[in-house]
């Protein structure tokens, strides 16, 4: 695998650090006039999401990480893995472990086009579409005049996720939800 020297560091570059794939967020050249040169780097560990601060001596290098972002279609989950299929016509499938779908799993509907980050062809993270349409499987009947909750109530969706919805929403309704905020947008179909 190729490697990158400090002078090639730039934001967005994917490198391996301590065995984990990382994305460089920021890289700054630091050098006292009569001192040695350094490159101060902020990296996001793509496995854990944590941000690391590291300093390298100029000329040091890091191994490149084979990280690619691709669009894939969500197929199904067997409870342990979430299965996705490439949309490039290859029908190739990958299985994502729960850590990779932790944020996305409440919004995954079959056939949804997701953005998947792959590291050595293994899914690191899954981003669902910005808006998804999901059916309500459980919600209390909305009582007219009950505004104690500010005119909203919880509703459980087919995926298991819970969103706050207006009182008129009933079981079986299909809702449009913004996956970035987890908020109800509108009722698509009663």
């Amino acid at each position: 695998m190729a490697s990158f020297s400090t002078n090639e560091f730039r934001s967005g570059l994917k490198v391996l650090l301590e065995g984990d794939p990382c994305s460089i967020l920021d890289s700054e050249f630091v050098k006292p006039g009569k001192g040695q040169a350094f490159t101060r780097v902020k990296l996001r560990n793509l496995k854990t999401g944590r941000v690391w601060d590291r300093t390298f001596r100029s000329g040091d290098s890091l191994e490149a990480a084979d990280v690619v972002e691709t669009e894939m279609e969500y197929l199904y989950t067997d409870g342990e893995f979430w299965h996705f299929m490439k949309t490039d016509g290859s029908y190739e499938q990958v299985a994502a472990a729960e850590t990779a779908v932790a944020e996305a799993k409440g919004w995954l509907k079959e056939q949804a086009a997701c953005r998947i980050t792959l590291w050595n062809d293994d899914p690191l993270s899954v981003v669902p579409p910005n808006f998804v349409e999901l059916e309500v499987t459980q919600t209390d009947p909305g009582l007219r005049g009950d505004t104690a909750q500010g005119g909203v109530k919880p509703a459980t969706l087919v995926t298991g996720a819970t969103v706050r919805v207006p009182l008129f929403i009933e079981i079986g309704d299909v809702l449009r939800v913004d996956t970035r905020t987890g908020e109800y947008v509108s009722r698509v179909k009663a």
């Binding site: 002078n7 050249f29 006292p32 006039g33 001192g35 001596r57």
Partner: protein
Amino acid sequence: MLAARAEALAAVRCFFAERQVLEVQTPVLGRATVADPAIESIAAADPKRYLQTSPEYHMKRLLAAGAPSIYQLGPVFRRGEAGRWHNPEFTMLEWYRLGFDAAELMREVAALVDVLLGGGIYERRSYDELLGGRFGLTVPQGDAALLEAARQRGLDTDDANAAADLLLADALAALDSERVFVTGFPASQAALARFGPDGRAARFELVVRGVEVANGYHELLDADELARRMDRDNSKRRARGLDTIKPDAALIAAHRHGLPDCAGVAVGFDRLLALKLGAASLGEVLAFDWRRA
């Protein structure tokens, strides 16, 4: 920006004209270059010549030949130094004052900076205070403490010099005073400064808003010591796997002939201009920065 740059260049020339310091121009391409292991030259021409990383050597040869106090304002080149506050080609203002010591030259540097940035207060911190204040290090406390402090700042190294360089850079960037002169550099970081009576280097730096702006010396005169330092620089270069640099025989000969007692300073003109204009990077005050040149 172009007008502000032209105005600042004119202000600098006016400053030195009033003080009767003579403007000189020395070669940009020289046969010799610095052996300083932290500075890499760019080689050019055939047979090999180097784009000068500073006009220091040529200017000192002029002083040894009898020139009065002199200044130079022109381009210098350093390989690989590209970043927010670095550009491999930049404008350096360098001047030498006959009979000045470091304290007198610091006063003149402050006067020049006042002309460009407006009047201000200049604090003084010693090298030891900087490392001690920010990292709780008492210097010299030994390499282990330096290495551990650097490791906590995200640098994994077993080179105590590298650790000290990084810690100093961090301490400078975190200074809370706007304009600070740093003095009391250890002998190992004397570069071409003479040693003071305290055994420390007679060297100073000016840091403005966390950015290094000037580096000055009460100049080393001793030719033998100069040759020894160049050899030491080359040993460091070998240890780091860098090409060695042939010591500049003409400079050593000039010292042997006799460099007059003087103090000299180099100022990063582009950095001063960036600070004057409140720019967030050097690129903002260059007509074309390295990526676009």
